[in-house]
């Protein structure tokens, strides 16, 4: 049976793994390669490396760490941030990444999704979506350039519409980051994820809000997501991956052993 995936996300800034709260106040967690190795050994099913500075400050980012990761780990990993073209994606994939995740550049030029699909195949193309629940309008809005608070924009897209659009354009997987929950460890946004799940025919990964093992159980059981992504609970040692996977296995959620 296909296992549900546990995916630690390592936010990368200037070649170091960092973590902020609701996208702010980034503090250094550690070096990339030893952390990647440590998570692979602990039983992570996949890793995401999110270069959070890249999309917002428009510079060419040194991605040589991608091949250093590919050399040492034997589980799949995805690289996000600053991939704005087919050429950028090609370089990251050639260095050994299994997938690229596109967020702000896909909003700026949705045809990029199709180009990546045609060049590298659907399985390589992950679309990251930063979704913010706006209480005044009671809508989920897609945000752009979330790596830099000063430049963060509210796009004209409502989240459900953008999810449909990216699938039509060739996305192979969607990572839905529910920004209101990010970094505060109060649980995944089950209501939003379940609503998006209903119109998402490709794998859907939940992101933002994991604080306890019960949060993972809830998101798999109630939102039927394919994977759950988390950062701070793993980096800060609040949840150990082997214990989490055993707990979920005990709850009859299929986990890779």
């Amino acid at each position: 049976m296909l296992a549900r995936r546990i995916i630690p996300c390592l936010d990368v800034k200037d070649g170091k793994v960092v973590k902020g709260v609701q996208f702010r106040n980034h503090e250094i967690v550690g070096d990339i390669v030893p952390l990647a190795e440590q998570y692979a050994l602990a039983g992570a099913d996949e890793l995401v490396f999110y270069d959070i500075t890249a999309s917002s400050d428009a510079r060419v980012v040194d991605k040589s760490w991608v091949s250093r990761i590919a050399e040492v780990i034997n589980i799949p990993f995805c690289v996000a941030g600053g991939i704005k073209s087919v050429e950028d994606a090609g370089k990251v994939l050639e260095m050994g990444a299994d997938k690229v995740s596109i967020n702000s550049p896909a909003l700026a030029d949705p045809s990029l999704i199709t180009k990546l699909h045609d060049q590298f195949g659907q399985q390589c193309v992950v679309i990251g979506i930063d979704s913010y629940f706006d209480q005044s309008s009671n809508t989920y809005q897609v945000k752009q350039f979330t790596g830099d608070e000063k430049r963060t924009l509210t796009t004209g897209w409502q989240t459900a519409d953008w999810v449909k659009e990216v699938q039509q354009r060739g996305a192979g997987e969607i990572v839905l980051n529910c920004m209101n929950q990010d970094g505060v460890r109060q649980g995944y946004d089950i209501a939003q994820l379940a609503a998006i799940r209903a119109s998402c025919q490709v794998p859907l990964i939940a992101s933002g809000g994991a604080g306890t093992m019960e949060h993972f159980k809830a998101v798999f059981e109630q939102a039927d997501v394919d994977g759950a992504l988390a950062a701070s609970v793993f980096h800060k040692g609040i949840i150990a991956i082997p214990a989490l996977k055993q707990y979920l296995r005990d709850q009859q959620i299929p986990m890779r052993s």
Partner: protein, 196 residues
Amino acid sequence: MKLVIVDTGCANIASVRFAVERLGCPVTVSDDPEVIKSADKVILPGVGSAPAAMQKIETKGLITVVRELSQPTLGICLGMQLMTRQSEEGHVACLGMIASEVKRMQVGNLRLPHMGWNTITANPDSPLFEGIADGSYFYFVHSFAVSVGDYTLARCEYGMPFSASIGQGNFMGVQFHPERSGEAGSRLLHNFISQC
């Protein structure tokens, strides 16, 4: 032992090379027909779409070279699919070393691509799967597959049973990514290098 990875121009070549190197086995990545022909063992990697990959292999002048290999040759993911007669993906003729065909998976309400870790059951006599217990997890990413048939070496299930591995003569292939399948994947690559 001279191991060569065919440079198909596809994206996962680095991961396959690193995985083999982690086993301590030197490896050459090449699209030179003479280098490929002189190898003791060959790996044919591949990701992306079947028509695009066939086009690349044709452009590099490697179709006949790969077809006529007589040494053990392992296709990975799309590389495995290219070893069959044809693929429904773009309705393309493939290399035809294994008498199977590739079709789009029919999985009902389940999601495609079939992406993630799934369990396999191997034929007991397959050297490629020696020491790999039934129920071992491998990493899959694909929407097309070979159904279970005469050339199946291992099977998997996702909405339908399908071949996790196929083989005919010196050609064998795996639908999953051994280079990204943890310890079980390492064991499979080790088996290919030392047992096949």
